[in-house]
């Protein structure tokens, strides 16, 4: 009996240690990426192109855009697409996401990032941060999952509780519920503010 208790305890300790390691891994990973981005933003000597290129390197490493593309269509629509459609959609979606992200950088003035300890949500980890400018605090939640190939990657961002993936999903579903995947692809190509 005693042996069993010992085994159980050591297993629990082991698992919590594993979790603690993973949380600090995510904490470290995100802080590094975000602080690099902040440094790029604060460097006023860079041109817009140079800045965008430098930021893209960081976010490409941090974000799993392929995953995000799949999640926006969800199990309702993604599995139904042909491989060609999936590839075309993913590519258009990534372009859209990156463009949207870079566009937001123009709004940057003097904001600083305040970090809160990451938390585990099921198998994933959420990194909670706040964008602080004067009295203004904007909460940002980076949601990460552990990819088999490349480790921790961001699959969604929540700004003040609003999820980017769900926002896109609601819009894409609206098109797909009434039309076809080609309608959606055409809309994405037209870049009409989706």
């Amino acid at each position: 009996m005693k042996t069993w208790i010992l085994i159980f305890l050591s297993l629990s300790l082991f698992s919590s240690t594993v979790f603690a390691d993973e949380l600090s891994e995510v904490d470290h990973f995100m802080k590094e990426k975000l602080s690099t981005v902040m440094k790029v933003l604060e460097n006023k000597s860079l041109s817009k192109e140079q800045r965008d290129a430098a930021v893209l390197v960081q976010i490409n490493a941090a974000f799993d855009f392929n995953k995000m593309a799949k999640l926006t269509l969800g199990r309702k629509y993604w599995p139904g697409l042909s491989t060609t459609e999936q590839t075309r959609f993913t590519s258009l979606f990534i372009q859209r996401m990156q463009a949207s992200y870079l566009e937001k950088l123009d709004l940057y003035t003097d904001e600083q990032i305040a970090y809160n300890p990451p938390i585990r949500v099921n198998k994933n980890v959420h990194m909670l941060t706040e964008l602080v400018s004067g009295d203004n605090h904007i909460s940002m939640r980076y949601k990460l999952y552990k990819s088999k190939e490349s480790g921790w990657r961001v699959y969604d961002i929540e700004l003040e509780g609003v999820s980017i993936i769900t926002t896109y999903r609601s819009q894409f579903y609206e098109v797909l519920d009434k039309g076809t995947i080609n309608d959606l692809l055409n809309k994405l190509e037209q870049a009409d503010g989706m």
């Binding site: 949207s100 609601s170 503010g193 989706m194």
Partner: protein, 847 residues
């Protein structure tokens, strides 16, 4: 027949003329009792009386009202002598607002001073929760505020006029929860009643609910009347600084009742005065004034008592009812007078009582026939599906019966108290119209036919031009305050008549959720190997339905497009929707449209009280629905309500690609239009039925097909010309004027029956059509002539009313009366002479 008549005549002689005082006493007791019920007599001009109870759009309107929280309100327009944004002006507005807010039973008063300003100076949306700048705020920049008011998609043309010279102050009444509850219960009971599933206990409860609702509506009407009087009293105190008007559905309803009531009082007296003068001029004897007016007074009082007793409310549609009863009673009385005088002259030796008895005996049959036929005509209204029209039908049936009964009792009794008239001066010698018409008919027969055909063509072409259109504003003369106020609101403050367009963006939510679950969770996830890939990310499945994600840019673009489409229609005034609110938000977003993410963010960040102000009235996320609140410019001359509604519906389906069942048009404009369309339809149908009923009655009365067809002709001519004149004169068919058709039938039938009935008698004398015609013109023709003159002159005073429908009623009744008289005394005899329906005549010489 003769024995039975003489038996009933004897009975009448014994019972009525034998004990005139006792019978009169009994009548007075009965009428007095009914008189006490007259206190319960109600006039209802509320919006509810103008709409169809079974109308599906009514249910939809009630749903929209409760879903988006609409409340009853009136608007005070304020046009200051100095600049609107002057410190002193704003102080005056503030004082006016406080004074209005102090009135009992007013929930809130809002003015331009309370409007949140987002750009005076510019503030971020998130700060709206803690810091709302208004014209009252110390930090407000008035110069910017002026620009904001002028350019704001919300305030422009609603709170302020485009030229910033006038502002609107909204006075909101509390929601009538008690009334709404009672109404809901009544609807439920009524549904059960129609289905025949009402249990005995429910029947009692239903009666209780009806009584309670009626009582409640009465109280509310009184309260609203007091409110409006109090608002006007407050407005009067500010008239030295500015020009003020009052507008709004509640006010229109209240003013409508006030106008009808004041017309009933003022013109009731006027009509009475004119009747006295005309009776005096025609009959030159006091008794011929006292007796007819007593009959009219008692018959009307008794009928008003009946209305009170049965709880029948007089609505805008049946407001002409009292006048009609007056006409019918007066017609019967004049026929009796003329017959009495005729008999008195022909039988100088007979006693007063004998002559009275003979008058009653000889006139009862034609008067009864005329009454029965008119009843048949009005009974057709009972077949309509509009409650006020049905009630109007019943009222007329009861009214005509009361008039016939009372006149045939009061007239002989009253006359028995007087001495016999020895010799009555004939007034027609002054203007012998009947003799002229008799000679005209004799010598110009073919011309009469030609003129009649011409008149019929004129009538028919006029009927083709008839339109079912009218606006509340057209009910009032341009000089009235109500007209000017509504015109101002229409032209510069966004329009008067509310119209709601609601659009469903998808199927009802329950179905939608179901379909997502079926597609995603079970079948597909099992079928595809990749299903697992989504297993760790179920959060998106759960939160996808959250309200904030409803606001997609695609949806917003469609809402904005619909908003712009509705706004671009010339007849619409202010259009408020989520589209309007988005325009404001875009202004704050440097003029760029908001993307999905910003929309969701905006929704999340919007403070709760702002959400109730800018979102709740226009969006129901729960029902996947957006609402466009439109105010239509009632006074716009190009406005064709039915066409406008059809066009909006068509365009939303075909241009914007919505399914037919997803587009809903509701509100006052729709209900009012439905009412008018259905009134028009039912009038056309009931008019057809009325004509059929008349032919049937004529067949029974005259037992001759030929004679029945001849009899119907002047009636058709009368309806045709009256409606034709309306068509040519551009008088639209509305719920007031539409009853004119029924009235003209009633009047024309009277003349036709009396004339033909007498003609048959006179023809028996010498079997000569021409001679019979001359005798008829000089006898019954006189009665018809006097009746017409009395009524035409009596009602002509209505032309002085400020209420346009009263003017139309006065003029068109006169016209109907005139046409009926002329047709009955030219076309009718001409057709009889031509067709000879009573058999071959005997040449006078041979005789």
């Amino acid at each position: 027949m003769k024995t039975s008549r003489s038996y009933s005549a004897n009975l009448f002689d014994k019972v009525v003329l034998g004990r005139p005082r006792l019978i009169l006493f009994l009548i007075l007791i009965a009428v007095s009792f009914l008189g006490t019920q007259a206190k319960k007599f109600k006039l209802d001009a509320s919006a509810d009386t103008l709409i169809l109870e079974d109308d599906e759009d009514l249910q939809n309107t009630r749903t929209v009202v409760s879903r988006y929280g609409e409340q009853d309100f009136v608007v005070v327009t304020y046009h200051p002598k100095s600049d609107l944004f002057d410190k002193v002006t704003l102080e005056h507005i503030d004082n006016l607002q406080s004074d209005l807010a102090e009135i009992r039973s007013i929930e809130r008063v809002t003015s331009l001073l309370d409007m949140p300003l987002l750009e005076s100076p510019k503030i971020p949306i998130k700060q709206l929760a803690t810091k709302v700048i208004t014209l009252r705020s110390s930090e407000v920049d008035k110069k910017l505020a002026r620009i904001e008011f002028k350019n704001s998609p919300i305030y422009h043309n609603l709170v302020v006029s485009p030229d910033l010279s006038t502002t609107a102050i909204q006075v909101v009444f509390p929601a009538d929860t008690k009334g709404n509850d009672l109404l809901k219960r009544r609807i439920q009971f009524r549904k059960k009643e129609r289905e025949g599933t009402l249990s005995p206990s429910e029947k009692i409860e239903y009666a209780g609910v009806r009584a309670a609702l009626s009582q409640h509506n009465e109280t509310m009407k009184q309260l609203r009347h007091e409110n409006i009087a109090a608002i006007r009293a407050v407005m009067d105190r500010y008239r030295s600084d500015a020009e003020l008007f009052l507008g709004g559905v509640s006010m229109v309803t209240d003013d409508l009742i006030t106008f009808i009531k004041s017309d009933l009082k003022l013109f009731g007296i006027g009509v009475l005065f004119f009747l006295i003068i005309t009776l005096k001029l025609i009959f030159k004897n006091l008794r011929w004034i006292v007796i007819p007016l007593s009959c009219c007074f008692l018959a009307t009082l008794a009928m008003v008592g009946f209305l009170g007793f049965f709880g029948w409310e007089v609505t805008v549609i049946s407001s002409n009812f009292i006048s009609l009863q007056l006409i019918i009673t007066m017609a019967i009385t004049i026929h009796l007078i003329v017959r009495y005088l005729e008999l008195a002259e022909a039988n100088p030796k007979a006693s007063n009582r004998e002559i009275i008895l003979e008058t009653v005996a000889s006139m009862f049959k034609p008067c009864l026939y005329a009454a029965l036929t008119t009843i048949a005509g009005f009974a057709s209204l009972v077949l309509s599906n509009i409650l006020p029209v049905i009630n109007f039908g019943w009222m007329m049936i009861a009214g005509i019966s009361v008039s016939l009964l009372l006149t045939f009792l009061i007239f002989p009794i009253a006359l028995s108290f007087f001495e016999k008239v020895e010799k009555q001066k004939s007034s027609h010698k002054v203007f012998p119209l009947t003799s002229i018409l008799a000679r005209f008919t004799e010598h110009r027969g073919p011309l009469i036919i030609v003129i009649s055909i011409g008149a019929l063509v004129f009538g028919l072409t006029g009927i083709m031009r008839l339109v079912v259109e009218n606006s509340f504003i057209d009910y009032f003369k341009k000089s009235t305050e109500i007209y000017q106020g509504m015109k101002l609101i229409d032209q510069t403050l966004g329009g008067t008549t509310p119209l709601d367009v609601t659009i469903d963006f998808g199927e009802p939510k329950e179905n939608k959720t179901d379909s997502v679950e079926t597609a995603g969770s079970s079948d597909e996830a099992d079928t595809f190997d990749e299903g697992d890939e989504f297993g760790d990310f179920d959060e998106f499945e759960e939160e996808g339905d959250a309200d904030k994600y409803w606001f997609t840019s695609d949806k917003m673009a469609r809402i904005k497009a619909i908003n712009d489409y509705l706004d671009a229609i010339p007849e619409t005034g202010k259009v408020l929707s989520l589209g309007t609110m988005l325009k404001v938000a875009e202004k704050l977003n440097d003029g760029k449209p908001l993307d999905n993410f910003k929309l969701a963010l905006l929704y999340s960040e919007l403070p709760a009280d702002m959400r109730t102000l800018v979102l709740d009235p226009y969006v129901s996320v729960e029902h996947d629905q957006a609402r466009f609140s439109i105010r239509v410019r009632d006074s716009e001359k190009t406005l064709k309500r039915d066409e406008l509604l059809k066009k909006i519906r068509y365009d939303l389906i075909n241009q914007f690609g919505f399914k037919e069942e997803h587009v809903h048009l509701t509100g006052m404009l729709v209900l009012y239009n439905n009412m008018l369309q259905s009134l028009f339809d039912s009038q056309i149908k009931t008019l057809g039925l009325a004509v059929a009923a008349l032919i049937f009655m004529f067949l029974i009365l005259f037992r001759s097909f030929k004679l029945s067809l001849i009899a119907i002709t002047p009636n058709l001519l009368s309806i045709g010309i009256v409606l034709g004149v309306m068509g040519w004169a551009g008088i639209p068919l509305d719920m007031m004027t539409i009853t004119i058709a029924a009235i003209s039938v009633g009047i024309a039938v009277d003349d036709t029956i009396h004339y033909i009935h007498r003609f048959k008698h006179e023809f028996e004398v010498d079997r000569n059509y021409m001679a019979a015609m001359h005798r008829c013109h000089e006898s019954i023709g006189q009665a018809m002539y006097y009746t017409s003159v009395t009524i035409i002159i009596g009602f002509s005073i209505l032309c002085l009313s400020n209420f346009i429908p009263s003017i139309y009623f006065g003029l068109l009744t006169g016209l109907a009366m005139f046409i009926a008289l002329i047709a009955a005394m030219t076309l009718l005899p001409q057709l009889i002479i031509l067709i000879k329906p009573l058999g071959p005549e005997v040449e006078l010489k041979q005789k």
